[in-house]
């Protein structure tokens, strides 16, 4: 059963990546066509990219490709946060404001999402 959910998580993350790619392709032909989708990879104890600039209302997808569990938490007060993300789990959030975030399990892992001005 656990395997099933892992497979679903992987498939879901794959769909999200593909969706992100499609949005990226569309944006090259139709500017400002709507909210975009960006991806942050969690791997080797780091968020990549560590600074992501998006438009208000865009969606960011965090994919845990590391060998251990992480989370994605607003820095410093965890005003918003994901559940614990086991390897291959994803977290999706619509971005309404700039914020720094970190992994509360491994607190030196920090990154930022900025809104375009």
């Amino acid at each position: 059963m656990k395997k099933f959910f892992q497979i679903v998580a992987v498939c879901f993350s794959g769909c999200l990546i593909l969706a992100g790619c499609n949005n990226g392709s569309n944006s090259s032909t139709v500017e400002n066509s709507g909210p975009q989708r960006d991806t942050v990879i969690i791997k080797l104890m780091a968020f990549t990219p560590d600074t992501l600039t998006v438009n208000k209302g865009d969606t960011v997808v965090w994919i845990n490709q590391d060998i251990v569990a992480h989370d994605v938490s607003h820095f410093p007060d965890r005003a918003w946060h994901s559940d614990t993300l086991n390897p291959q789990n994803v977290f999706v959030k619509v971005i309404d404001d700039s914020s720094s975030y970190f992994c509360s399990i491994h607190p030196t892992m920090r990154a930022t999402v900025l809104l375009k001005k």
Binding site: V68, A69, P107
Partner: protein
């Protein structure tokens, strides 16, 4: 004395590596003395540790820190110690799962060796030390041991396990653990600094 178990990790592993190097050095000296005879075709260098032994060391070293974490959860009431211990248990358990799965996939049976046994002997001594401590004294000892243990393991992984690992997938897994161990080391140092 208190931290001999942790500090011993790198020494045990490096000692295993050095003994291999000494053998190689002796072989080199022997071949120099018989230089007059035609040199035999060079035999491939044998690593100081084989992959089955490295898998055993990796699993054992991770399990020991899981066990230390469980002792901390059992003995400490300090929230920071408990949170750190929970992270160690979760992270090192995850690594063990992946290492075991990879070993199964590669049909490698972890092979107990002198380093593995030395690690377990060190753990037994450390457990005895922990038994006699309570409260802040235990918290301080646990935090300091975690810093020393991770420091030793990081050095051993970088300087001995990775260079000796032959299988590419096993080497990749061990290399991918290094950033996590570096992070644990920093967390442990920060924690230990609070008990000076």
């Amino acid at each position: 004395m208190r931290f001999s178990a942790a500090l011993g990790v790198a020494m045990f592993i490096l000692a295993g590596c050095n003994s291999g190097n000494n053998d190689q050095a002796a072989a080199t000296a022997d071949s120099a003395q018989t230089a007059a005879t035609p040199a035999p075709e060079a035999a491939p260098q044998q690593p100081a540790l084989n992959d089955a032994q490295i898998a055993s060391i990796a699993v054992t070293a991770n399990q020991i820190d899981v066990d230390y974490g469980k002792i901390a959860l059992d003995k400490s009431k300090n929230p920071e110690i408990r949170k750190f211990a929970e992270t160690m248990i979760k992270d090192h358990s995850d690594i063990i799962k992946q290492a075991t799965a990879l070993a199964t996939k590669l049909n490698v049976t972890p092979e107990t060796n002198k380093t593995t046994q030395d690690l377990l002997d060190g753990q037994t001594k450390m457990n005895e030390t922990f038994k006699g401590l309570t409260g802040d004294a235990f918290d301080k000892a646990y935090a300091q041991n975690e810093a020393a243990y991770h420091d030793a393991v990081v050095n051993a992984v970088k300087n001995t396990l990775i260079p000796n690992t032959q299988n590419a997938e096993l080497k990749s897994l061990i290399e991918s653990v290094v950033p996590l161990l570096d992070h644990h080391l920093q967390m442990a140092k920060d924690l230990a600094a609070k008990f000076k």
